[in-house]
């Protein structure tokens, strides 16, 4: 709950609360109406002298009729079902039924308050599809998530399965392909997928201060995902929205990987690797830390290589003897290569990131069930067991839960 509070405060401080925050975003609804409806139904729904339906008179109790007419078209009106997004249609309905924000939402449209007795209704209002929890998982997420012919594998997949189970919901996974490019980082992909309502929740969110706030009110491209509509080209960008995050469920750490024949020493810091041929993973935090915290002799003799699965394979082939990498990368390498001479030292670098489950801020009521489940799973050892089953070297979350922005001082001195 602490993080949720911190994240919420952060957004409030930065951007202020929208007027109808608890009901719907009127500004966005107005823009959606202008973009899709105004050229026939008129600005502010006033369309004097033309033949288009006067939306100000649309019966507030005929929501189904509205959705059907908009999706499928009616009379002269074209169908919009193939181009409007579900949340856009909801916004349009709310815009129309509140007469453009001038009247309050009818009672049944306002957010349904959670009650202990009516779980079903609560779920219906919290997830995109009633009775289903949708999660976005990366197909190429290494030991954390990967797609299988039926279902998936990995700790994140196991986690969302357990969460859906606990909430009494069916699980649906939207598999996406994480694309590491200049324009698209994993964090922007996550924001885009959530803002586009592709899924309710996304695990694997690294709790880093900047990631929690910096992307709201900007845009990002959607990664490829299985059910991505064909008309959304790669240039299509999504308006990002504020997110909320769960309590952390695991920790992403960096450790020293070494080739077993050449290694006999105790590591307490990076500099202890002096004398070994060191690999530097280019362009990653681990690489930067190696260069900044290693001794000058170490650095001078080091070998720089591209990041990704090839990095550890190079080491396997003898290009270097030891390197600082994320533990997940090591786990993935071991999973992919049954025969391997690489081993992971017990040493962990003090800089690490706790992992949490992210969702749109508007769905933060899901946290009432997600947070207790996660905490119980850590406390009773289920999380560690799931990790082990999925060949993930598990580390429990550590304080502070949200890693503050890394400074040069951190990079030089936190060792």
């Amino acid at each position: 709950m602490l993080i949720r509070l911190a994240a919420s405060l952060c957004f409030l401080a930065l951007f202020g609360a929208p007027v109808f925050a608890e009901d719907f975003d009127l500004t966005k609804a107005k823009r959606t109406y202008k973009d899709f409806c105004s050229h026939c139904h008129g600005i502010d729904m006033v369309n004097p002298g033309t033949s288009s339906y006067d939306l100000r008179k649309f019966p507030a109790d005929q929501k189904d009729r509205f959705y059907t007419s908009v999706n499928k078209g009616r009379g002269d009106m074209p169908a919009w079902g193939d181009i409007l997004l579900p949340d856009e249609l909801d916004l349009l309905w709310k815009y129309v039924v509140t007469r453009g924000g001038k009247e309050p939402l009818p009672k049944e449209e306002a957010a349904v308050p959670a009650t202990d007795t009516d779980q079903t209704q609560q779920h219906g209002s919290l997830t995109t599809k009633p009775g289903t929890l949708t999660a976005c998982l990366a197909k190429n997420g290494g030991v954390m998530s990967s797609r299988r012919a039926k279902g998936g594998a990995g700790l994140d997949y196991a986690l969302v399965t357990a969460l859906a189970d606990q909430m009494g919901l069916a699980l649906e996974v939207e598999w996406f392909e994480s694309e590491q490019e200049e324009e698209s980082t994993p964090i922007r992909e996550l924001y885009a997928l959530l803002a586009y309502n592709v899924c309710d929740v996304m695990p694997g969110f690294a709790l880093y201060e900047t990631s929690l706030s910096a992307f709201y009110k900007t845009r990002a491209a959607l990664p490829r995902y299985d059910n991505k509509p064909a008309h959304l080209g790669p240039e299509f960008q999504v308006d990002l929205e504020p997110i909320s995050v769960s309590d952390p469920y695991a920790r992403m750490e960096m450790g020293v990987v070494y080739r077993t024949p050449e290694f006999e020493r105790e590591i307490t810091q990076i500099a202890d690797m002096e004398g070994l041929k060191i690999g530097v993973e280019q362009g990653t935090l681990a690489g930067v830390l190696t260069l900044r915290q290693g001794t000058s002799k170490m650095v001078a003799d080091s070998i720089t290589a591209n990041p990704g699965p090839d990095f550890l394979w190079k080491m396997e082939q003898g290009a270097f003897d030891a390197a600082l990498v994320t533990v997940g990368a090591y786990d993935f390498h071991k999973k992919q290569n049954f025969v391997s001479t690489l081993a992971l030292d017990e040493y962990r670098h003090p800089i690490g990131f706790n992992l949490s489950v992210a969702m749109l801020k508007s769905r933060r009521d899901l946290l009432d069930q997600i947070d207790p489940t996660i905490n119980a799973m850590i406390a009773d050892g289920r999380m560690a067991a799931l990790a082990k089953k999925n060949k993930v070297t598990f580390s429990s979350p550590k304080e502070p839960w949200v890693q503050s922005n890394l400074t040069m001082e951190d990079i030089l001195l936190r060792r």
Binding site: R31, K34, D35, F36, S38, H39, C40, G42, I43, D44, V46, N47, P48, G49, T50, S51, G73, D76, M77, P78, A79, W80, I83, R219, H231, L232, G233, E235, F236, Q237, D239
Partner: protein, 559 residues
Amino acid sequence: MKYNCIKRLGLTATIIFGVANAGAVYAQTADELKNDTSDPSSILTYGMGYGQQRHSSLDMVNADNVGKLAPAWAYSLADTRGQESFPMLYDGVMYVTTHNSTVALDAVTGRQIWKSVIEYPAETPRVACCGIVNRGSAIYGGRLFRTTLDAHVIALDMETGEEVWRTKSIDYKAGYSMTVAPTIADGVLITGISGGEYGIRGYLEGYDPDTGERLWRTYTVPAPGEPGSETWKDGGDAWQRGGGPTWLTGSYDPELNTVYWGTGNAASWNAGLRPGDNLYTSTILALEPKTGAIKWHYQTSPNDPFDYDATNELVLATIDGRKVIMQANRNGFFYVLDRTNGELLAAPQFIDKVNWATGIDLATGRPMDTEVATKARTGEQVTYYPSAFGGKNWSPMAYNPDSNTVFINTFKDVGMQYKAVEPQYRPGVFYFGAEFAWAWPEGDRGELRAIDPMTGDVKWADSSALPRLAGVLSTAGNLVFTGGQTGEFEAFNAETGEALWSFNTGSGIVGQPVTWEKDGKQYVTVVNGAGAVYALFSGDERLATVPPGGNVWTFALVE
């Protein structure tokens, strides 16, 4: 698309009108088109002559007897969209278009000869920004040419209404549509495209009228490396969605063998994202009709943030011995150019309130921007005048060459609150890149003005509560005709501006009046039918009691 939708009244009607038209030759020659203004018994070119002066030498109906003008007939177009069609007339048959039909009528009786229905995909109206309209046709060699909302160009047999050929210009789903009346110049069928609010890349096209084969396409936004591309300095792909639509019919000077065509706003409206002048958006183009090659260009609104199209009609005239081209631009200035070379001769302000520029520098031809323009480009909120409706919207003006007077329906003191925002591109969805709202004046919103084109001096003005969106017609009978959005068809004394006559047509008028003569009798025709840009975008409740529904109205003096 399979297409065969000819409807006729039936055998009887065919025989009757077959007889009435016996001996008619459905072949308009190039010479006939050139001399359209000298023969008042026909209307063969959009704007009543290639120069689009909308002035007739007829004076049988005049300021003295216009009080006796009365309806001769009306014909229902059976359509509730806004009607903007320019009627064509040849050999006693009138041709009128709507978005979904073309009709041929006996001009004297108003009886239907044929009706040819147009079908287009039901989703097409998504990409029509400002009304489901059509502005008319071109006729040549026994064929009628028109465009369709889903961006096809078609040719119909003028005698039967049967489709002769159909060519797809482009996929409408990407935001392109066609409402423009095409034109014929030097034997080439030339057409433009709509979609400036949908992130299109505008163009003009030439077609072979015989076969429908596309002869050329000239983009109004150059690709990188092409001439003019140096005026797109964003370094990215802004040009691909750069706008520059060509949705109003151009003019043609047969002597210079040059077509003049105005282009629309650059897209998105957020000008800060496309630094540079952004040629050839908001530009007057002079083109070679056979090839589409650009001979010269004059840009009215460089790096335009305000939706100031330069699409408005280009009226050809000879003033002080010079061959000129005139345009009442959206941006509030009245441009007079030497049409042989594009040199700017005059650019007076033709409405009262303009705050985005202090004037047009006659030496450089460029607007002298105010802080309003510079702030708008850097994303600050501004209130600018005139609004995106413009000092004048699309509805065409008339020019009386005898009195050297232009008659224009203007917007009066209407401004716009505006702030550029980051646009989001989705094919076929509005691509504004700006938040905006109207800034209305307290009183009247429109004014019919009679002005001197070189000075902008106002000879007279008639203001109206609602702006008039109809075309204007001038006649040698010392008359000016136009219409109101509340349905009145009106006549004014061209010298004094005195309102002489008015008739309530039953639905708002946003169409284009014409006048013609048959068997020694003068007729005045206008298509009514409320709707289109103002009705859709103003939110003006005062139009609530004006019903839609298009009719072709024809008037003559009561005998």
